[in-house]
Symmetry: C2
Subunit: 376 residues, 2 copies
């Protein structure tokens, strides 16, 4: 039950950076919260409720075309490392893998499609959390994928639905549509020009919110922000998606403008920052994950500014995923204490840059190159 | 009068790192303070005294075999940049070039041999400061060079000498032998193992002292220390030299031991530090001089530990000299404001490493390399 080959693609297909605006928007995620009638919700659900929910989902999934050949992982049956890998690929939430130290909750599971970038978390905060993940900014596409899955599952499962409140959820903030659409953005321009505070404040005024790398309560590192809708009630799914799309398009424009300002007013400082980040990633022997994220932020900016020829966003996306602790342990085939993990992380980065990101220190022509230099 | 070709060698020949212990001891310098009878000393010397001293030295120099073909630079006649180059090569002191903002003192001059790494500062704190500079730890050789020059000049100039006090000097701390022998050492091991404080304290207990890069009152950067005798009186020149030699040999042993400890107890941390320093030097677009010194310290440690194959101490020595501000301006053929200077400095470092220090990020085999790494 620790074989992840069935889900190789889901959780990773966004890495190819094939979607629109993928230099600024890494990925788009849409999730729907659903619960089943006749079983207690959330923290009130007893072991039997949870067990029954899981069995009903398993049964329904076998009949759903989009889930043809799906894999189902019960989290309690997985090795801790495998659970953490699901978390690192965002296939499972921190709650589902029991990151708080209590261990995975009973009958918690992940259903992963063999074909599409969709899946279902079972017995998380809600009975079902349907989700879809695409590269770049593709809110409508992600919504349609998840909507189709929702329809197929909905004909086979008795969703708890109230004519006035819509879909009922464990936490009222998710009721109504049960939809959360989020866009994972890289905003170094806004951070470096110190405009980010204003932008984030603006988001909250239009019903949106932001989070860090691992969702709710996680820290923002490397200038990567998850921007999502705050409210789920009183608007249609399409309206929520369209609204988020409109705002994200605006944030993209702000970010592009900020990058333009940076290159106009602080190009030397910015270029220096970018090349230093690359030099450190290229040569360091020990790297903590957070430092990698911060350095990747600089390098990613450099790629989008065409300063680092031959380096692709795909390579940088892979580094983000595969330098996470559990992925490094999986590659090493054993547990790695922190110091060793940092060494393996640095080695992974060097190796991947050696084959797909070997940028010469002199790939640009800056002012300094025009001097002749006196050597004896 | 701004052509420095006559002194290309003096001030630079030590760069070749040919001397003993040149991985720890960059260079050895011996200087003798001398004054002429019949002319006021130091701050009491009037313009006429200074002028007469310079003329007497010029005349004597033409008759001295060791100074055959010498160049004589009057500092007031030099362009400011050329004066600073003399300072950066340690051919002139800060006082002689008027670094305090008052400009070069009247009749201040530098006499530089065309052949040997010897020279004379004229009208510095003393009428004459004879000096010799060699690569590595070569105290006896440097002393003999300067001693010969002293004898040759002494037969032609009326040195102020007192049978009881020895050579008379402007400042009593230099009286007696007038000798200051100093050894320019790189001591990163002692700094990183935090043993340096004890060592420096020990020096003061045996009549030695330490200074930074540009002599008295200058800061220590990059773990480079100038260690020299404090007292000049009451001992023969040979005794002073032998004593310094003995202590320096001890410091070398301490440093080697500290490096051994570092590699035994903190090899990962130390290697990471070394490779990061190299990566930053290799890729940065802007480098302040002090940062270069600090990074060079790491890289130099790496070279001595055989971690950076193909990189030589000679290359690192050249970087130390040619990335100083006036040298960069000379290479650019114009004045460089600070930001531009930092850009030229970084470009110089990249250029020199491209041709004589291109070390691959994977030149070693560390633990991290043994993991396989999963890439999609």
């Amino acid at each position: 039950m620790n074989d992840l080959t069935g889900i190789t693609d889901f959780g990773l297909s966004w890495l190819d950076a094939s979607g629109p605006h993928s230099e600024i928007v890494l990925s788009t995620r849409v999730r729907l919260a659903r619960n089943l009638q006749g079983y207690a919700f959330g923290s009130r659900a007893r072991v039997n409720d949870r067990k029954a929910v899981l069995e009903r989902v398993r049964e329904a999934a076998t009949e759903v075309e989009m889930l043809n050949g799906f894999a189902l992982f019960e989290l309690q049956a997985l090795e801790p490392r495998t659970r953490r890998i699901l978390l690192e690929r965002h296939l499972a939430s921190r709650e589902l893998v029991g990151e708080n130290g209590t261990g995975a909750p009973s009958s918690a599971a992940v259903v992963a499609s063999a074909a599409d970038p969709i899946g279902v978390m079972v017995n998380e905060e809600d009975h079902l959390r349907l989700q879809g993940l695409l590269s770049g900014l593709r809110l409508r596409d992600a919504w349609q994928l998840v909507d189709r899955l929702d329809e197929e599952l909905g004909t086979r499962l008795p969703y708890a639905y109230h004519s006035e409140f819509g879909y009922l959820t464990s936490c009222p903030t998710n009721a109504g549509t049960g939809l959360r659409a989020s866009v994972f953005m890289h905003l170094p321009g806004l951070v470096l020009t110190k405009e980010i505070g204003k932008v984030l404040q603006g988001l909250s005024q239009v019903g949106l919110t932001f989070r860090g790398l691992y969702g709710e309560g996680s820290e923002v590192v490397g200038n990567f922000f998850q921007i999502s809708n705050q409210t789920t009630l009183g608007k249609s799914e399409e309206d929520l998606i369209d609204h988020l799309e409109k705002i994200v398009q605006q944030v993209i424009q702000y970010e592009q403008h900020a990058r333009h300002i940076l290159m106009r007013d602080a190009s030397s400082v910015t270029e220096d920052k970018i090349w230093r980040a690359y030099g450190l990633l290229r040569y360091a022997r020990s790297l903590a994950f957070e430092e990698v994220m911060n350095l990747l932020s600089g390098v990613r900016l450099g790629v989008s500014m065409k300063l680092l020829p031959g380096l692709s966003v795909y390579t940088l996306n892979k580094i983000m995923i595969f330098t996470q602790a559990a992925h490094l342990e999986q590659a090493a085939g054993r547990e790695l204490p922190a110091a060793e993990s940092d060494a393996h992380r640095a080695a992974f980065v060097r190796r991947i840059f050696a084959t797909e990101g070997d940028v010469s220190p002199d790939s640009d022509s800056d002012a300094g190159n025009t001097s002749e230099g006196t050597t004896k």
